[in-house]
Symmetry: C2
Subunit: 356 residues, 2 copies
């Protein structure tokens, strides 16, 4: 137990401490500037050399403010400007813009770390994955839960048989989006930019992907119910969403997601012999609750936040890029989530079970 | 806040402290003997005068051991033996026996408190309700969550607008039944005695009914998935169950239930403005978690257990019987749960949404 606690946040994945990956950051919203940028700057293996934004002026102004060498426009990026100054791109734009920037990055032979969900539709995500495969550049989808210490320890415990046979999963991810970003015209509420909807694409993906990752089981059938009520959600179907996902080996997963609700994150996996619960689960404040028989253990790990989660993720990505070894989660792993999300939307529309 | 804490377990429902309801107890399993009997004995308004069991000998032996006046067989009960010695019956037998005992109790003009689920099928539950209505005897279904202080305070908060608009509900109720009762032939695994199945009938009913009670909204559509794996569950379809229940006003409820899993109970209601969570939720150890904005309040109430919960329920029932006022939950309220459970089973079989 002493060893387990002391090694809780060790990086089991780390294979090198040498080298630097230089990044261009695309999509300079609050997440990229306030979280991704400081995460890379405090990482061991990364540095930010280039900002890419809608205009040269905006990119250069933000580059100056944040002590970054280059600020270029998206047009200049497509033309290969400053491409000798970075080795990899981080794509943090609205979902529907990922494809065009990743296609250019692949042409420029850059490694890609792309925010989730990978794109706005399955078809565009498939093109994104193929662009990277054709150019033979590494593509990682930015599921930062995978390198969170709580998730890593939970995955080890599950592999050691902690749960017995997994039986059920509960996931909830809700937040008051309009209080966080008081703009009813924001891109997450615009299906042309966000994709199939907003709550499952942006929030549900955390429960779905983390459960897949922890249990090493994918959904084989989904059912769902969605509805929108508030006027700001008029163009998206899923202000409120609920789904059943049957995972391989008949594990019964249920999820709810809402962009218009009190903030709450939880992921709970119950097995025949034990239970592993993350509460809170996402957004950089993971607390791990372990129960087996009548013993319950709660593990708090206060030093982690969203920036630290991103730092782990960027160092993992850089480790793999620098050593030329495969990344996980790769594009094919991310495509499964896109197909599951599309199936959840299709099931809500038809009322039918959708098999995957 | 001081007043709120000090009055936390007050009985807002109480209208009398005078009088005694004398009970006959039917179905002398561990729950009746170890929980219901001491609950009535320590209640203000109840006493147990009569035990009813499979044989006169068994009933009399248990009556003697527990200091109860009369021990009679089911046959003697049907013949009206000792019926001047009790005013009400508590029916704690396997589900499929409820109807015949309630029919006799109604003929004998006795008040009835009947364990949940009310019977094994909707059709038999309807006959049970009609028997009591035709005889004009009070019928209460024993949802002991209704008189739990945490549930009462949560219901008051919800009525005061704590949640804003309710958005989603998560319910889980799981237990390792074969570890608790190591008999694969037990009645909860026998559909002739339990009804449609085991996990939803015996465990899911807690999430479903408590959500209905708290939100004052009933399910209008359900979807579900069930499967059985362990050989002891060969005759019931729902060793593992997951369901989506759409409640009135488009509240999205998801539930999982399993009689073959690590023990866990949770009920979580998330609204646009707040969240109310019971964790643990059922079986006499309720802790109430309240969140609104970024404030979270946890209310522990250590003196409650299953026996104390039953005592509250019996005193509530006796209060209503002694004053001749209507009981809640009455038979019609309980019938809704039976119809929901039947619909969940039907949906699992067909794969279709079942409207209610």
């Amino acid at each position: 137990m002493l060893d387990w606690i002391d090694s809780y946040d060790e990086r089991a994945w780390q294979t090198t401490t040498d080298g630097t990956v230089r990044y261009a950051l695309l999509g300079l919203g609050w997440w990229t500037i306030d979280v991704a940028l400081p995460a890379i700057e405090s990482s061991d293996l990364g540095e930010v050399t280039t900002f890419v934004s809608s205009s040269t002026e905006k990119a250069q102004r933000l580059a100056d403010e944040n002590d970054v060498d280059n600020g270029i426009s998206y047009d200049e990026f497509h033309d290969g400007a400053a491409s000798d100054q970075y080795d990899a791109v981080y794509v943090g734009t609205p979902n529907a813009y990922h494809l065009e920037y990743v296609e250019t990055a692949a042409e420029l032979d850059k490694a890609v770390i792309c925010e989730k969900p990978m794109e706005s539709t399955v078809e565009r995500a498939e093109r994104l994955v193929e662009a990277c495969e054709d150019a033979n550049v590494p593509l990682m989808v930015a599921y930062r839960m995978h390198t969170d210490p709580a998730v890593q320890r939970a995955k080890e415990l599950i592999e050691d048989g902690f749960l017995g046979e997994p039986v059920s999963v509960h996931g909830n991810n809700s937040q008051p989006l309009l209080e966080m970003i008081p703009d009813p015209g924001q891109w997450r509420l615009d299906p042309d930019l966000s994709g199939y909807g907003t709550s499952v694409m942006d929030l549900g993906i955390y429960s779905i992907n983390t459960a897949r990752h922890l249990l090493d089981r994918d959904p084989v059938a989904v059912q769902s119910q969605m509805s929108s009520h508030h006027e700001a959600f008029a163009d998206v179907p899923d202000e409120r969403s609920a789904a059943i996902l049957v995972l391989e080996d008949d594990v019964k997963m249920v999820t709810t997601d809402s962009q218009h609700a009190q903030g709450d994150t939880e992921l709970k996996i119950t097995g025949t012999k034990g239970q592993i619960k993350f509460q809170p689960a996402f957004h950089g404040e993971v607390t791990l609750h372990l129960s087996r028989g009548d013993v319950t253990v709660t593990v708090d790990h206060d030093t982690f936040d969203a920036e630290r989660e991103m730092m782990e993720e960027f160092d993992y990505f850089a480790d793999r890029v620098l050593t030329g070894t495969p990344v996980h989660a790769d594009g094919r792993h991310g495509l499964t989530d896109m197909r599951v999300i599309e199936a959840i939307h299709r099931s809500a529309e038809s009322g039918d079970v959708v098999e995957l």
